[in-house]
């Protein structure tokens, strides 16, 4: 039975990876950028399925929310700025072909030294992972080990990731957000009654689900990153159907800018507080007298910081792209 299952899983993996390769090739060959973005969404969904098949549900969840959800949306709003056709390229870029082949060849050569896929002797399974798997139930005491690694053992890396997202939002704002756009596009989809009614049912559920994912991250797949993206998707859906100006009245860009910074600040200050109470930076066990409770508190607070920053950064980036598109469309 078990062997049969492994066989089916192998077949499934091969099929999914082949579909991934085909989609990637199709994206590279596509001249119509709109279709390329749609294919990129499919690529995200396929990779999420592949991650589920290799039992990495947390990663799959992130990939489904980001790769198949928010990323195509943001790319579409960007396409509204640049147009949907790729400029025809007539030169035969021999040099770049050579460069790509050499780099690709070296990468393939590099993988030859790696342990085989799923091999139990791989260094990753010898000390670090073993340590996490064996001691994290007592040391941290939450069921989702991925959250233990992400939010506690590797809290420093995760802080870096949150800063990266914050920086991305700041960069987009710096490039595109020239103050409030003068003539922000009014509700564009007046006639789409069905979409509006359905989205009115769905948006509260999406936001509620985001909160569930946020606060359930210690027990099941989920956490700040996924929750932030899902929350942002709900707001972006609202902005698309009820107009950017309405969405901006619900959640003001100024508030979002502050929140994006506050999330990072919240994360960092947990580190500083643990420093002040006698531990190392981001060592949550010193937060409370009971080390285990302190670790739980630390994980909840930093996940909240991650969620706030991710959600506000995504909505801010969407606002920036969409307002820039609206000013372009304004007749001069």
């Amino acid at each position: 039975m078990c062997e049969r299952r492994a066989e089916i899983e192998l077949l499934l993996d091969i099929a999914l990876l082949m579909l991934l390769a085909i989609t990637a090739l199709a994206i590279a060959r596509m001249r119509d950028l709109f279709a390329a973005v749609m294919l990129a969404g499919i690529y995200g969904l396929l990779s999420a399925s592949f991650f589920v098949s290799v039992d990495a549900v947390d990663v799959a969840f992130t990939e489904a929310a980001v790769g198949a959800g928010v990323f195509p949306l943001l790319m579409l709003t960007a396409l509204a700025l640049v147009g949907r056709r790729e400029q025809a390229e007539h030169r035969r870029p021999l040099m770049s072909l050579l460069l790509v082949s050499v780099t690709g060849g070296m990468l393939v050569l590099g993988t030859l030294d790696m342990p085989a896929f799923g091999s139990a002797d791989a260094p990753a399974h010898q000390h670090v992972a073993l340590r996490y798997v064996e001691t994290s139930p007592e040391e941290i005491g939450i069921p989702n080990m991925v959250t233990s690694v992400l939010a506690d053992y590797r809290a420093y890396d995760t802080l870096g990731e949150v800063v990266v997202i914050f920086t991305a939002a700041v960069g987009v704002l710096g490039l595109l957000f020239a103050g409030e756009a003068a003539g922000v596009r009014q509700a564009t989809m007046h006639e789409h009654r069905v979409l509006r009614v359905v989205s009115k049912i769905l948006i509260p559920l999406i936001l509620l689900f985001a909160l569930y994912v946020q606060f359930h991250g210690e027990y099941g797949p989920g956490g700040g990153f996924q929750a932030g993206v899902i929350f942002a998707a709900g707001i972006i859906l609202y902005a698309m159907l009820f107009g950017l100006s309405n969405a901006k009245r619900v959640i003001r860009p100024g508030l979002l800018q502050m929140l994006a910074a506050c999330g990072v600040l919240l994360y960092g200050s947990v580190g500083v507080v643990s420093l002040l109470s006698g531990g190392n930076f981001l060592d949550y066990s010193s937060l409370l007298p009971d080390a285990l409770a302190g670790r739980h508190l630390g994980i909840i607070v930093i996940e909240l910081g991650v969620g706030i920053t991710v959600a506000s950064a995504m909505i801010l980036i969407f606002y920036a792209f969409a307002s820039a598109g609206a000013t372009l469309e304004e007749p001069s």
């Binding site: 789409h192 069905v194 979409l195 359905v198 049912i201 769905l202």
Partner: protein, 106 residues
């Protein structure tokens, strides 16, 4: 007895669901224009997805899994027709024409 009945029903639902997904896939490839293709994909997928979820529900028994499956079913029943509607609307808006029987095949 009851368990066997449930398993049989579930197998029937799953079988019909799988057949409908296959037929939807064939229709997607074979139908002449965008709208009939969308019909093949959208209509069969809503029904097929519902049937497959129903089949799984029959196997799940009372519990949190059943509840989650019901939620997924509700979500699909709401979103899948809406997505088809939006797609059809976008196609009409983009100037896509319906193909009639008399027209030349591409």
């Amino acid at each position: 007895m009851m368990a066997m009945l449930l398993e049989g029903l579930s197998a029937l639902c799953l079988g019909i669901g799988i057949f409908l997904i296959l037929s939807g896939g064939v229709g997607l490839l074979r139908f002449p224009d965008m709208f009939s293709r969308m019909h093949a994909a959208g209509v069969t997928e809503t029904l097929a997805g519902g049937l497959i979820l129903l089949g799984l529900m029959l196997l799940a028994g009372w519990g949190i899994e059943l509840f989650k499956l019901v939620l997924i079913l509700l979500f699909i029943l709401i979103t899948s027709p809406t997505a088809s509607h939006a797609l059809a609307k976008a196609a009409l808006h983009g100037g896509m024409k319906v193909k009639h029987d008399g027209d030349d095949r591409p």
